[in-house]
Symmetry: C2
Subunit: 558 residues, 2 copies
Amino acid sequence: MAHKSDIEIAREAKKRPIQEIGARLGIGSDDLLPYGHDKAKVSQTFIDSVQDRPNGKLILVTAINPTPAGEGKTTTTVGLGDGLNRIGKNAAICIREASLGPNFGMKGGAAGGGYAQVVPMEEMNLHFTGDFHAITSAHNLLSAMIDNHIYWGNELEIDQRRVVWRRVLDMNDRALRDVVTSLGGVANGFPRQAGFDITVASEVMAILCLAKNLADLEKRLGDMIVAYRRDRSPVYCRDIKADGAMTVLLKDAMQPNLVQTLENNPAFVHGGPFANIAHGCNSVTATTTALKLADYVVTEAGFGADLGAEKFMNIKCRKAGLAPDAVVLVATCRAMKMNGGVTKDDLGREDVDAIRKGCANLGRHISNVKSFGVPVVVAINHFVTDTDAEVEAVKDYVARQGAEAILCKHWAHGSAGIEDLAHKVVQLAESGAANFAPLYPDEMGLFDKIDTIARRIYHADAAIADKSVRDQLHAWEQQGYGHLPICMAKTQYSFSTDANLRGAPTGHTVPVREVRLSAGAGFVVVICGEIMTMPGLPRQPSAENIRLNDAGEIEGLF
Amino acid sequence: MAHKSDIEIAREAKKRPIQEIGARLGIGSDDLLPYGHDKAKVSQTFIDSVQDRPNGKLILVTAINPTPAGEGKTTTTVGLGDGLNRIGKNAAICIREASLGPNFGMKGGAAGGGYAQVVPMEEMNLHFTGDFHAITSAHNLLSAMIDNHIYWGNELEIDQRRVVWRRVLDMNDRALRDVVTSLGGVANGFPRQAGFDITVASEVMAILCLAKNLADLEKRLGDMIVAYRRDRSPVYCRDIKADGAMTVLLKDAMQPNLVQTLENNPAFVHGGPFANIAHGCNSVTATTTALKLADYVVTEAGFGADLGAEKFMNIKCRKAGLAPDAVVLVATCRAMKMNGGVTKDDLGREDVDAIRKGCANLGRHISNVKSFGVPVVVAINHFVTDTDAEVEAVKDYVARQGAEAILCKHWAHGSAGIEDLAHKVVQLAESGAANFAPLYPDEMGLFDKIDTIARRIYHADAAIADKSVRDQLHAWEQQGYGHLPICMAKTQYSFSTDANLRGAPTGHTVPVREVRLSAGAGFVVVICGEIMTMPGLPRQPSAENIRLNDAGEIEGLF
């Protein structure tokens, strides 16, 4: 096995022209809008033309609660896509786009790893096809129009203290979290408290990822609440008349991006909403388009299955009319060991007992996924330090849960290392075993939905909330928002709201600190803990070492 | 003549695939990085490969002082390019990219007009190939890194009151002109006064447009002054270690964009610096690349010749080693009438006397251009309301100045309407009459350079400045910046600093209010009057009417 870095492997990729990748899916070159020679958008015209086709099988890749050891969810998504193609299936993957800003703080995230990657890796971590820039523009146009409305007389009677629409930048910039704007005198407007989030936290991002088409996008943008009046009645984006222009700014961004894996298989990379205050999945348009073009579509959701899969099922699938045919739950021996109490420095040492102990986390995710009526298989993403005894311990545990765990070596061997999983996924998806249903019905009360997630997914005793929070939820129910699903924002490191509680905790409660209405995206965000929507840069930002070398290659980004 | 709007004409364009346009210039499809089917970037590799070729002829299109009547400088640039191709020459045009933000305030600017336009018009007024978004990202990365540096201990001892590097957005947003950042407590840094400009006002934009290549870009970015210490010593971008990462963010943006005219002739559209606090020309890389690929390159500069041509000559040509072979000075009968005192409402009525009076403005521009040693021809951009007597009055006047004025009907007839001008331009450019020299030598003192521009170009009695301004200029000379050219920022409507003084005023002085050092771009900005670097939106922003119609077309943008 080669000991090359991800970027070295990515740079050696023998990429095919993107038109060839499109042709594999039946997309003619007229319907592929190229961005360079290795990236393209799929035209809306083409997407419209395939709506009557049957859907392929939808496979969700999710994971145990993340640990610093890393699980390799995206790597497994890419590997499985390649594996399915290797065993003769027509498969595509759907993953999220990366946010530009954070790459200048810590080193950039690859799209996958080892021999299971999507390329072009560098462009995907920089401007890519400009989608996030378009979201930034659309978001900030609305911001400017709100202040402009107030400036010119405030006909809508916006309470300037209750403008909830902030601004965004795709940059880690803590100085912009809390600002006072419109200083400097009469010509600059009315000073007020304001602030910036990072672009991926924008409700526009969540909407772009949930909208079925441009008409739906425009409607959802119009539905967004941007401010309140003194009487607490909401002011909508539609009232500001920004929805049409925002849609124009987003019309190209709405078209899914097509790139390729190292093995030249098709990969849709589109959208990237936060996995805490939003639902953390790639776009509905990418997934539904891929399902029309491929027999198998492998996709992933952010964080562990308690957040990612839950939101994928209860928000994305519910709203887009999707139903997964199988779920792959990614685990690693290293992560099991950490869940079993081993510290990061000791991960290199065999510790079967710790694995057995840590498997409780995995077991709970297995039963949770099953509760959605979807068959599940565990992928053990192999690390070179894993011992046979450790792998067997995981397999044994999973077998006792009524599922199967399959060792996967796609990181080291690409599709050749993941054939067994591919065959198993095909078997599960074709078995007809899936009988998907969301966890709760639309009609359930908002707090009951939260409580249901807390009990059924987090295995907590209950969700708890102050009267003010409950009153707010009731008010939204009165205003017609009671049918919305819940978008939980809590730590991804634990089933509980305490990041240090690994494994499969019980006896905990889920305290709700705050609730927010994303009326355009169509969910109620339930915040349990600190949520950071504008990151800062570290003491030594990676940007200090990023540069072009004499060969014109980017150094320091990865 | 059809009475179609610019956008109707643009939508009827029979565009050729951009690869065909590239092939006309000898650019292979591997060296064209497509953005959709009608836009492409020219690869740096290709640009490097043509450096040893001889240059074509460089033609500058400039104009009289602008009036609300409109002169049609870009329209004439496009028309002349088409006209040169029509008469059998291999010609390309080079124009600037449009800023996105202002389109949501007032209706968007087309690239040209009538039958002399560049397409795709809508994309060019929206995200285009993402260059401006890249500049926004690069600029704001530096901003974030400055505040981050201060946050983590301020090793460079930046005086927080003297951070001169602001932030940018490509949006008209007056609320961001003056802000206080880093509020909200310890985790968000040290509160300080800050602000945002529009992206085109960024020094990064000016640098992108003046840099010869990526290495030069990185050096210039490093040279930018971002703050001062208490002892007034400058802190450079290089000290913040942002120059490398900014270069990475700008590496695609540095490659010139290729599109086409309505007549399928090549058009480079690249860069768009402000014409007041910056030099207002398209990029050096686009112009120098075009000169290697075409026998004639037609380009333009912002505002009238007093600002645009002067900066083109003294900043762009000087720094890039370019020398124009001929200048086309655009005038209209309508603008001559306004210069002669006619109000906008009365422009439809014949008024030969007013034209004769207004021609003084044109005459001064003619002699100014000649003073650079470059032959000049006047293009009368025809309006349907122009009478023969009016056109003859302009022609007579110009003839008396020792030049020729040629009536051009490219707006109505495309290249067929501008053949005479094309022939004349060829004759001038091939005559060898050009003997270009900048107005002042590098070695001249900074204030003397300002005074020289004031006297020789504005025909003022003198430039005047407070002691503080003169002291600042002296200080920069001591610090080694004395060799820099001057970038004047004054009203574009008059030779003087009073916008209402039309025609060819004399007896005025040029009061310098403020000077700023753009150490990376490489010029000293001299501000005479109010300069707005962050526009606001009007009471009824055009954004309110911009939307996609049922046919998927953009309404309200034009």
